[in-house]
C-alpha cells in the first residue's frame, strides 16, 4: 500500500513536471499550447541524440535541452503566436494544434517510427527507501520537478518580474500603459514554459521510450492536470499532477491496473462538475 502510494507520488511528480510548462504559458499568455506534447517529444529526441551521437548523459544534457527548447519556444511565439494574437482565439488554438501535427509528422519522417530507448544512464538503478525499491530515474525526475515548480512559483509570485507577468495576465493593455511590454513578457513566458518541458523531456529519456507520438502519452495527462489544478495555477498543476499519480496507484493497487485511466478521468469530470475553474483556479 505504502509502496504503491510512494511510486504513485513520484509518477505524479513526473506528470507535474510535464504539466507545469503548459500551466505557465496558459496562465500568463492565455494560449492553450496543443503542441505541448510535441515540445516534450522534441526534448526527448534532443536528449536521445545528444546521448547517442555525443555521448552526453541526459542528466548533464538536460540544461542544454532546456535552453534549446527555450529558443524553440521563442521562435514559435515570434513566428506563430504573436501574429495570431489579434485574431480570433480559435485561430491560435488551431495553430498550436496544427503545429503539433507538423512536428509529429516531421519526427516520423526524420526520426522514423522506430521505438528508441537509451541504455544505462548515470541515473539508472534503484533507490532503497524504508525497505522499498524505487527507480532512481523516477525519483530524481520527481525531485527535479518539485524544484522546478518551486523555482517557477517564486519567480512568478515573489519577484518583480513575476509581478509584471501577472500584470500582463490580468490586463494586457493596462500593463502596457504602466510600461510593461506585453510582447516581450509573453515571449519570455513561452521560453520559460518550453524550457521546463524540455528539462522534463530530457529526464524522461532516462526511463521512458522515445517515439514520434510519445507526446500524446503525456500531453493529455498534462492537459488534464492543468485543467484540474486550475487555469494558470502553478501549484494547482503540480498538486493535480500528484493527485493523478496517486489515483492511478490506488486504482492499480485496489482494483485493476487496466482501470487506471478510467478513474483518472472520472475524477477529472467530477472536479469540472463541482468546480469548473479547477481546484486552485482564479477565474
Amino acid at each position: 500500500m505504502i509502496e504503491a502510494l510512494t511510486a504513485g507520488l513520484f509518477n505524479g511528480l513526473i506528470y507535474a513536471a510535464v504539466a507545469v510548462g503548459l500551466a505557465l504559458i496558459w496562465g500568463i499568455t492565455d494560449v492553450i499550447n496543443f503542441a505541448h506534447g510535441e515540445f516534450l517529444m522534441l526534448g526527448m529526441y534532443a536528449a536521445y541524440w545528444l546521448y547517442t551521437l555525443g555521448r552526453i548523459d541526459p542528466t548533464l544534457s538536460a540544461p542544454l535541452v532546456a535552453v534549446a527548447l527555450a529558443f524553440f519556444g521563442f521562435m514559435v511565439y515570434a513566428l506563430v503566436i504573436r501574429r495570431l494574437q489579434r485574431g480570433p482565439a480559435m485561430a491560435i488554438i488551431l495553430a498550436t494544434f496544427g503545429l503539433g501535427l507538423v512536428l509529429r509528422q516531421l519526427a516520423f519522417i526524420f526520426f522514423s517510427p522506430d521505438y528508441r530507448s537509451l541504455p544505462d544512464t548515470l541515473l539508472s538503478g534503484s533507490v532503497s527507501l524504508a525497505g522499498m525499491s524505487l527507480g532512481r530515474p523516477q525519483v530524481v525526475t520527481g525531485l527535479v520537478a518539485l524544484a522546478v515548480v518551486a523555482a517557477l512559483f517564486v519567480l512568478v509570485y515573489r519577484t518583480r518580474w513575476g509581478h509584471a507577468l501577472q500584470a500582463v495576465a490580468e490586463d494586457r493593455q493596462v500593463a502596457a500603459l504602466v510600461g510593461i511590454p506585453p510582447d516581450r513578457v509573453n515571449a519570455q513566458v513561452w521560453m520559460l514554459g518550453s524550457a521546463a518541458v524540455g528539462l522534463a523531456g530530457a529526464l524522461l529519456t532516462t526511463f521512458f521510450y522515445v517515439f514520434p507520438s510519445v507526446g500524446t502519452v503525456f500531453g493529455l495527462l498534462a492537459f488534464v492536470a492543468v485543467c484540474m489544478g486550475g487555469f494558470g495555477s502553478l501549484p494547482g498543476a503540480c498538486i493535480a499532477g500528484i493527485a493523478i499519480g496517486l489515483i492511478e496507484a490506488m486504482t492499480g493497487y485496489l482494483a485493476a491496473p487496466a482501470l487506471k485511466t478510467v478513474s483518472v478521468y472520472i475524477l477529472f469530470i467530477l472536479v469540472l462538475w463541482y468546480r469548473p475553474r479547477g481546484l486552485f483556479g482564479r477565474w
Binding site: 504503491a4 521505438y115 541504455p119 538503478g125 523516477q138 502519452v217 487506471k260
Partner: protein
Amino acid sequence: MNKKIIAGLAAGLALAAALPAHAQEKTVRIGALYPLSGALASTGAEIKAAIELAVDIINNPHPELKGIPLAAESGLPRLGGARFKVVFGDTQGKPEVGLADAQRMLDQEKVVALTGAYQSAVTKTASRVAEQRGVPFLNGESSSPDLTERGYKWFFRTTPNDETFVENMMQFLDTIKAVPTARIAVVYENTDFGVNTYKAVEKFAKQYKRQIVANIAYGAGSASVTAEVQKLAAAKPDVAIFASYTSDAMLFVRTMRETQYAPPVLLANDAGFIDSRFVQEVGPQVQGVLTRDVWAGDVAAAKAGLKKINEMYKAKTGKELNGNNARSMQGMLVLADAINRAGSTDPEAIRKALAATDLNDDQIAMPWAGVKFDDKGQNTKGAGLILELRGSSYQTVWPEKYRADKSLPTVPFAWK
C-alpha cells in the same frame, strides 16, 4: 482495306489470347491473397518472394532439396508435369478487399485453390468465399484460434495457432527443473491479442497443473506501468508471461529493472519482445528473457534442407527467411503436394488429398514434426519454439532437439 487489317489483327489477337487458355491443362493456377500495399506492404512483399521461391522449387528440378515433395521433379508429375502458377491479389490489409479479391480470383482468374492472407481478420473473410464456393483454402500463417473453429469443410491451416503456442509454453515449462514453475502471472495488453493469450493460458494452466496467481491487464501506451509491476511482484509468481507490443515491452523491462523485480522465469508471447528495435535498444539490459516464436536463425542453420532454402531466398531477396514468410512458403509446398497427389484440379479431389496429407519433419521446411490435418483442418504436428535472448540474437531452447547450447535456458532470470 483498313478495316480488313484491323479485323485481321483483332482475329490474330483473339487467337493469341486464346492460346494460353488452350495450354491451361498444362498449368495449375493458385490464387494468393496478401497485403501487397498499405501498412503491411513490406511483410506482404517478403511473403510474395517466399511463395515465388516455393513455385521455383516446385516447377524446376532441385535434387539438392532431399525429402521435400516435388523438389526433385519439374512441375506436377501426376498432372503430366503441369506447371504450377500463382496469381497474386492485393488485399491492402483489409478484410473487405480480401473478400472481393477472393471472388475475383475464382471468377476471373480461374484458380483451383486459394491461399493467404497473413492477417487473421482478412483470412477470415477471404476463406468464407472459398467455403461458399467449395474451393480449397490453405492458410499458412494466420494464428487466431477461431479460424479453425468455424466448422469449415474447405479450410486448412498449416501453421500452429495461438492455443498451440501457449500449450507449447506449458510443455516447455515442464522441462524446467531448476526452479518451480507452478505459479503463473499473465501480464497482457487489453486487446484481442492480449486477451486471447490470457484465455489460452487460463485453459492450459489447469491442464498442465499450474495455477494463475495474477491476471494483469493494462492499457497499451500507458505513461507508467509501476502499478502493474508492483502488482506482479506482490503476487510472487514463478513464471511471468507477457503479451505486449514493442513500446510497452520496453517500458515493462525498464520499470521492472529499476525497481529490481525479476520474475524467476520471464516468458514472452512473441510480439514486442522479438521486434528488432526491442532487441537492439533494451536487449543488453534483458539478457536471458525467453520468448515464443515460430522461427529462429539457429534452427534454420541446423536443418539441412532449411539452410539451402534460406540460402536460395537470400540469393533472391538479399534477406533471410523469417517466421512469417517461411510459413507461407511451407503452406504453398503443402498445397502443391496435395494437388499433385489428387492427380486432378477437381476441388473435391484436392480437398480429399489435403485432408489425407501426412508429411514428416524431413519432408517440410519448418521446425515442426510434420503436417497432418485434424477434422477441423488444423495441422496437428506444428509447434512453436521457445527462444532465449543471448547477446544480440535469440537462440532456441525448446524443443530440446533444436537446442544447441545444453546449458540453456538460463533460470532463474536475473537483471544484468
